[in-house]
Amino acid sequence: MATAYQDRKLADPAINVGDERYFEAAAEGKLLLKKCDECGEVHHFPRGVCPFCLSSKVDWIEAKGTGTIYSYSVTRRAGPTPYCIAYVKLDEGVTMMTNIVDCDLDSVRIGQKVRLTFKQSANGTAIPMFALA
């Protein structure tokens, strides 16, 4: 079985106050995470307050853009095009929801190394995604 990756229409993110920098950086080809100055923990999705200690002293850091597939599901019947939703554990230690793209979706497996890439949502916002490394 082979299920070729196809581009699909991505829903636009409904960006909240404080999220702007994340998507500006994505447009520059970067993936940002938040790191807490008080407890030192990195978290994702990014918040204005650290989910580990509730400190407001959280700053953006740039992720290396490499990681490992934690889990995935080739979603075959939720739209006109099959797509692969996944959780990728980044080398910084946090796990993010994403899509695996630009490959035979049936070749995706847990534990595979992946690297950062981007696809655009309907309004042109850059959305971080991952391809097999």
């Binding site: 409904a14 909240n16 918040r47």
Partner: protein, 388 residues
């Protein structure tokens, strides 16, 4: 303080409809309320506490209170998704124990079947939801989120598609006896694993039904319960636990049942071997496997082996579950299955389940739910009940 023995479930009603194109959600709630009040042998005027969740139209419980003309001393609209109504049993018992109300009504209803709503649609939960910009573009739907939990479970523990299929097979064995069930045909493991993949590794038959309908429960203080003519179903223990993505330290291998289960058993003061019947939320087959592990009916990772070979089938298996056919075959009104879990447990404890699936001497039952998704955020809730 404990709620043990402080409250009884005196009324239970499951709406017989599975498709209600001509009824509003509010009407379905009210029909369920009336059904449960009549089942208990109470009057509408006896209700002084009301519990509902996000399926109720309007602001919290206020619109439904208005629609049904209730006069209340206590109101609670806690929403943990499909497990809300199990949470509500606990909260109702707490309110009764604290003297805040005497007779609590819990309602659920919805018409996702008529409205074309299913677990294959990307759904926004409203404005300013903090996680949504970092999830919605990736196409998270109910099925693929649970599928990712299933995929990880298979990877870590060797759970197989055939083992998951046994959950559906058991549910279908029960549903054949339920005239209201949506899917009454008995299916085999082969039927399940050969049905189309919806979101790998979950097949169509690994998924619950989409149905219109609803249900209601009445929880009352002991003196009132004992004045009624129905069999006595005592609440022994309740517990709830939200689980989420933990700031990015995600672990999909367990659910909030790992936290709510032990606390519920502790409050009830009973052991797993004492439980004669279990209602286990079955949004998907994987949901049942993971919850049974987390509740402690088997070791973590051994849920697949536990459910295999008919172990959940009434009459032959060691732990009869969802004898109404569950969400997998009978009913999943409003895409929320918590209330039907309690209703079937009450039927079992009263001896009112279908004779073909009635558990003999069923004096102790558990109901457990997962609302939201095993794949990111959910609310777990557990209740243990005893026939007195």
């Amino acid at each position: 303080m404990t709620i043990k023995g402080k409250a009884y479930i005196v009324g239970a009603f499951e709406h017989p409809t599975r498709k209600a194109p001509d009824k509003s959600v509010a009407q379905l709630h009210a029909e369920c309320a009336r059904g449960a009040i009549e089942d208990a042998g109470l009057k509408k005027e006896d209700i002084d506490g009301y519990f509902c969740a996000g399926d109720a139209p309007g602001m919290g419980g206020i619109s439904m209170t208005n629609y049904m003309g209730l006069k209340l001393r206590h109101i609670d609209s806690t929403d943990t998704g499909g497990s809300s109504y199990i949470v509500h049993v606990g909260h109702a018992a707490e309110a009764i124990a604290a003297g805040k109300c005497n007779v609590a009504l819990i309602t659920l209803s919805g018409r996702p079947r008529s409205e074309g709503s299913s677990g294959m649609q990307v759904r926004s939960r409203g404005s300013a939801v903090p996680e949504e910009p970092f999830e919605i573009p990736y196409g998270p739907v109910t099925v693929n989120l649970y599928a990712m939990a299933a995929m990880r479970h298979m990877h870590e523990f060797g759970t197989t598609a055939e083992q998951l299929a046994w959950v559906k097979v058991a549910a279908s064995h029960h549903a054949q006896h339920n005239p209201n069930a949506m899917l009454r045909e008995v299916v085999t493991v082969k039927d399940v694993v050969e049905s189309p993949l919806v979101a790998d590794p979950l097949h169509r038959l690994d998924c619950c039904v989409v149905s219109d309908g609803g249900g209601a429960l009445i929880v009352a203080r002991p003196e009132i319960a004992k004045s009624l003519k129905r069999p006595l179903v005592k609440v022994l223990g309740t517990a709830e636990a939200p689980k989420h993505t933990m700031g990015g330290k995600l672990d999909l291998t367990y659910s909030g049942a790992a936290w709510s289960g032990p606390r519920c058993f502790e409050e009830a003061g009973v052991k797993h071997a004492d439980i004669k019947y279990a209602s286990i939320y079955d949004s998907f087959t994987i949901t049942v496997v993971m919850q049974l592990e987390d509740l402690g009916f088997c070791k973590k990772g051994e849920g697949g082996k536990f459910v295999a070979d008919g172990n959940l089938i009434a009459g032959s298996g060691k732990l009869p579950f969802n004898t109404d056919g569950g969400g997998l075959c009978n009913n999943h009104p409003a895409n929320r299955g918590g209330i039907t879990k309690v209703i079937e447990a009450v039927r079992q404890l009263r001896g009112e389940a279908h004779p073909a699936v009635q558990v003999k001497n069923c004096n102790l039952a558990l109901a457990h739910g997962t609302g939201g998704s095993l794949g990111h955020r959910h609310g777990s809730a557990t209740v243990i009940m005893e026939r007195e």
